[in-house]
Each structure stands twice: as C-alpha cells, then as structure tokens.
Amino acid sequence: MSHSVDDLVKSNAEYQAGFISNIESDTIPPGLDESVVRFISAKKGEPQWLTEWRLEAYTKWREMTAPEWAHVHFPPVDFESISYYSAPKDMSDGPKSLAEVDPELLRTYEKLGIPLHEQEALAGVIQSRPNVAVDAVFDSVSIATTFKDKLAEAGVVFCPISEAVHSHPELVQKYLGSVVPKGDNFYAALNSAVFSDGSFVYIPKGVRCPMELSTYFRINERNTGQFERTLIIADEGSHVSYLEGCTAPMRDENQLHAAVVELVALGDAQIKYSTVQNWYPGDENGKGGIYNFVTKRGLCAGARSKISWTQVETGSAITWKYPSVVLRGDHSVGEFYSVALTNNRQQADTGTKMIHMGKDTRSTIISKGISTGRSENSYRGLVRISPTASGARNFTQCDSLLIGDTCGAHTFPYIENSNTQAIVEHEATTSKVSEDQLFACQQRGIDPEKAVSMIVNGFCKEVFKELPMEFAVEAGKLLEVSLEGAVG
C-alpha cells in the first residue's frame, strides 16, 4: 500500500533529450594520429602556430596516461575506436546563415527548447530563455550563433572559437592554453590536440554584457567524441554571465566528452559561469551514457576580479570535473556552487580547486551531492593557500543527501595551507531523505513523488539561488526529471 523510500528507488527515469536526429554527417574514421590532428586543423583553415600547438599537445598526450585516482570505475577507453571529427554534411564548408541550415538541425534545437531564431526569442515565443544569445554546437561544429549584431554594438565578441581564430587571432593566441596549459592533464592534452569547436567570448574594458550568453552542446553522431573548447576573456572592469547546456541521444555505447573551458578575468572583471549538464546518463543498468571528462579553470588575473562557477550536474554515466579558480589578483574572489545528482549506475567525482595566490583573496565552495539508485557520488576539492596569500579566506560546505540505501556519497577534501594568516573553514554533512520526512509530507497531502522533489529542491536551495533566473527554473525541472527513477 504505502511507499517506503526503498520502494521509490525504482529506476524508470525518462531521458527527454534522448532522441537521435537524422542528419547526414561527414565523420572521419576512428583513430588518432598526427594526420588526424592535421586534418582537423586544416579543416578549420588554422594558422601555422595553432597546427603546431595542437601537434605539441598530441605529442604530450601520447606520453601521458589516463588519471586513475578518481572514485569511479569503468573499463579503459579505447581511444582508437573514437572518431575525432564529425560535422553535419551541409556545414562542412563552414557556417552559413540560419536560412541555409538543414531544417532537421533546427528542429533538433526546437525540440530541445533552444531558440535559434532571434525574432522568436525576442518575441518570447520560447518562454524559457528570453533574450539569451545562443551558440549552438552540434557534434564538432558550431551551427549558429544568435544576437551577434546586438552584441557587437556593445563591443562584445561572441562567436565559435574556430571563427575567432581568424577574426581575433591576437586574443586567441595570447590566451588559449594560458589557464589550462596543453599538457595540464591527460584529457586536457587530448582536447588541445583535437578540439573542434566551442565558444569564444571577449568583453571589452568596462562593458557589462547586455544579455546572458549561452552555448548549447549537442552530441548526435555515433562513435564520436566531443572535444569543445571555450575561452572567455573579461577585460578590466567588465561583467559577463554565461550559461552552458548539454544533451545527447540515448545510445548503448559510451561516448566521450572531453572539453576544456578557460576563463580569464582581468582587474575588477566578473565572470559568472553556469552549467546545466544533462548528457545522457545511460540506462538503469548502466549501459551507455556519456563519459564527461572535463577541465574547467578560471584565472582571476587582476585585482578585485571575481569568477563564479555554478553547476547543476544531472547527466553523464561518469563525471570527472573540477571547475577551479586560480586567485592571482589581490582581493580576488572565487566561488563554486554545485549540485550533482546521480541515479541508477551513474558515477560522479566532481568538485573544485581554489588556488589562493594573491593577498586577501576569498573563496566559497558550496557543494550539494544527491545520490539515489545504485549510484556513487563523490565531492573532491582542493583549497591551496600559497605563502603569498596573506589574509586569504576559504569557506567550504559539502552536503550529501542519500535517497535509499544502495547508493554512496563520499567527500575528499584536501587543504594545503602555507600561510599562517589564512583562514580555512570546512563543514560537511550527510543526511538521508528519511521515511519520516516522506510520511510527514504525505500526511499533509503531498504525494511521494512531489515530496521527494520538494525535499531535494530544498536541499539544493543555496545553489539554485546562484543560477540566473530562467536557468533556475530549468534546473528545478531537470532535477525532477532526473529523480523520476527515484520516485517511482
């Protein structure tokens, strides 16, 4: 008759972005060697320095091994079975105007609720994201970027990185790899060698970006990896808020997504980077799903600059991701707000690194992990206070919520403090959605499904309030969908 928490942890979640688009693609054969790196570089008509940069990264990657320290388990990835470049056929001669884009592609984004027609977006036809500029990346290429003209009026550059290489070569050459060096780690090196597309943003001095910027990543083709690269530069005194969303079709095999995101905030600049990650998580038995092995790092280069990461992670079979901030400028601020939900057989090892170098730098870490089904959810965070970082402060709070008793939650905090004048605080809690809480809600007429979702949303409140308005609503809904398995 009644639901107990355990009864509710049945897996029947419905992944709503799991459809496959029927798009003819140019996909290169699987496997990776120098010629593939050269092919990708040539395909994009890149300058010599970038081709060489890629090849150096490739050479480094060859010498590296995949990291094994994360609390995740999966068979080794066969990098020879992955295709490193795939683009919709009619896009292979470079981006065209929206009118010429394959209607099937446009329908894909329509189905996902991403407005690529500016008029519609302006008219608010698609309610969920009014007035947000979108860069849509499909497999290896960017297919459309909206509101470019309006942004250009403010001096803001928002375009595919493959385009920025040609239109703003000096900025790309100066900053690419400046925050995440090409040999930083195994997956970053791989990305540096084969990255295909991604977004480039430049906000000039003193400019407050007039609208939210967002990139929507979609993996469609079978047996491909997505290796996007995002570079955001906020010049002195500028502000930008950037959103990122991701989905993929339901496929039985695992697909690799190894992105690199670099943020640079110069003096007094502020960057707010929000992610709602909903890659296909695999089915209830752990078959299929995306391997999300991502390197995200921001550099607070100037004094009083601020970088804030907010992430809501509900997708991917495996998540390996530590959005970090290097606090080099004096009085700079780093923030990390995270909700990571794992269900079924999902595994997440995620957290952040706050590297304090400047004086009086401050960082805040709020991490909320929710585990249900047979999933494993780990927080891994490093707070490093360098000898130069006098007066630095960090506050960390890690909370884990368990639903049912077949899942796991783990916390791996690392604190390295080399400055006696710094203050580092760490709090951690683990709780369960109890039968009593569920019953209390039911006794007041709230059905179990709604009750679990309400309890989980309450648990995440501190993070959700950091998300831009329209994203917060979306994140709440996404959480509800992702919990569907957990709530019968």
């Binding site: 809600c441 006794q443 007041r444 007429g445 709230i446 309450g458 648990f459």
Partner: protein, 247 residues
C-alpha cells in the same frame, strides 16, 4: 453516521502485535481523549489512522466517512480529511514553511477538484494564523521546523491544522514537552478548530491538557485495547489513581 469507525482492529509493527482488538467510534462534533500508559498502543493507533508505512492492520477495519480506508495511501487519507498532528514533527531543511503549506493546500484542493487558494489570500491567511498562535510571521520563511524549539514545532502543527481544516484531527501527544503558556496557545487553537462537522482524537498522557480542551469522551487504552470509557470525569479519576487499577 460516524466520521471514524475503528472496528475490532488488530495491528502489528515490526512483527509485534500492538493493537489487540480496538474499537473506537467518533461522530462529527465529538472530541475523544485517548489516555493510557506508555507502550499501550496510543501512537500506534494514530499511525494506523494516518496509514504510516510499517504499521499493518492484521484484522478488523478502519472506516472513515463510511469508506474502508485500510488500503488508502497516506496522502489519499489526507485528501479525504484525516490530519495527524505529530508527536515529533520532522525538519525539512531548505523547504520553507510557506512553500510546504501552499503545497499541502494545493494538493488537497487538486485532489478534491477544488480551486487553488490564490497566493495573496494564502499569505494573508497564513500570517494571521501564525500571529494567532504567537508565532513570529518570519517563521513562515524559515525551513519547515528547521531549528524550531519544541513549542514552535507543536504550534506549527496546530497552524497546519487550522489552515487545512480537516474532517478528523488526530493529535498525538501534542502537549508533550510544552510549558503551560504554549499548552494554552495550542489548546486554544484546537478549541477554535472544533465544530459540529469535524471530530478530534486527542492522544495524551496527562490530564492537564483536558483542563483546556474538554473532551466528550475519555477512553483508556491498555495493552492494545480500550479497557474503560467514560466522560471527562474519568480523566480526573485517572489523575488520582493512575492506570494500575484498570490493567
């Protein structure tokens, strides 16, 4: 017709037989006090009425408004008008009282095909109820029972009772842990709730609550059965003599 009719119910919890043939009939307009020593089955009775998981009726029947509700889910019973004021109200961190109360009210309205209370009217009502129970209106913004004192938690239960206006209120030792001032506020709330169309089952350990909420009937529960019934004078007798003479 009776509002609640518990007929010869036996029930077990964790393989232990707790109720052993309990009968109780509550008509609209009546307040029934259930008293009895620790471990006699008082809280089990409350949980059986609300349908708490793990509490199993093994024989007999529980009828509410003429329907056998033994198979109903807890939220379905709530929609029908059964309300349980908890002995130990749980905390739900991050979910504000306001949000929780509105969700409860909306769920009940939806199930009964009634219109939802609009937000402005709801906030006004919740604020005035809070005030009448000596709760600072700020409490509505706080997480459900999060960091509340024992007295605040119990008053919050009464606020929910008054807001949801159920047909049957079951109060499970609502008086426990209350000082005399809080007890009066809570009792006053219950008295305000009482009318000719609803019923109250008042589970208590002590006679003192019955000085403020005067029951129509008093029953003594011992070893899973009602062993004595009477009017309010029975409670006074129990106060003097204890339970031993009945068991």
């Amino acid at each position: 017709m009776s509002l609640l009719n518990v007929k010869n119910v036996t029930a077990k919890v964790a393989e232990q037989n707790i109720l052993k043939g309990l009968n109780l009939e509550v008509k609209a307009g009546e307040v029934h006090a259930i008293m009895g020593p620790n471990g006699s089955g008082k809280s089990t009775l409350a949980n059986i009425l609300a349908g708490k998981p793990g509490y199993e009726v093994t024989s007999g029947s529980v009828e509410f408004d003429g329907h056998d509700i033994s198979d109903w889910e807890p939220h379905e019973r709530a929609h029908a008008g059964i309300f349980l004021a908890f002995q130990y109200p749980v905390e739900i961190p991050g979910v504000s009282n306001m949000e929780f109360l509105k969700a409860s009210l909306d769920a009940k309205a939806f199930a009964n095909k009634q219109e939802q209370t609009n937000a402005a009217a709801f906030i006004k009502q919740a604020r005035s109820l809070a005030e009448s129970l000596d709760l600072n209106p700020d409490f509505l913004k706080r997480g459900v029972n999060e960091g509340f004192s024992g007295g605040e938690k119990k008053r919050n239960e009464i606020l929910q009772l008054l807001l949801l206006q159920p047909r049957l209120a079951v109060l499970d030792e609502t008086d426990s842990g209350l000082d005399i001032d809080a007890l009066q506020v809570v009792a006053e709330g219950v008295n305000r709730f009482r009318n000719d169309n609803n019923g109250v089952v008042l589970i208590t350990h002590y006679q003192r609550l019955l000085d403020y909420i005067v029951p129509d009937y008093v029953h003594v529960l011992a070893d899973g059965k009602i062993v004595q019934s009477g009017d309010k004078s029975l409670a006074l007798e129990l106060e003097k003599k204890g339970y031993a003479w009945l068991t």
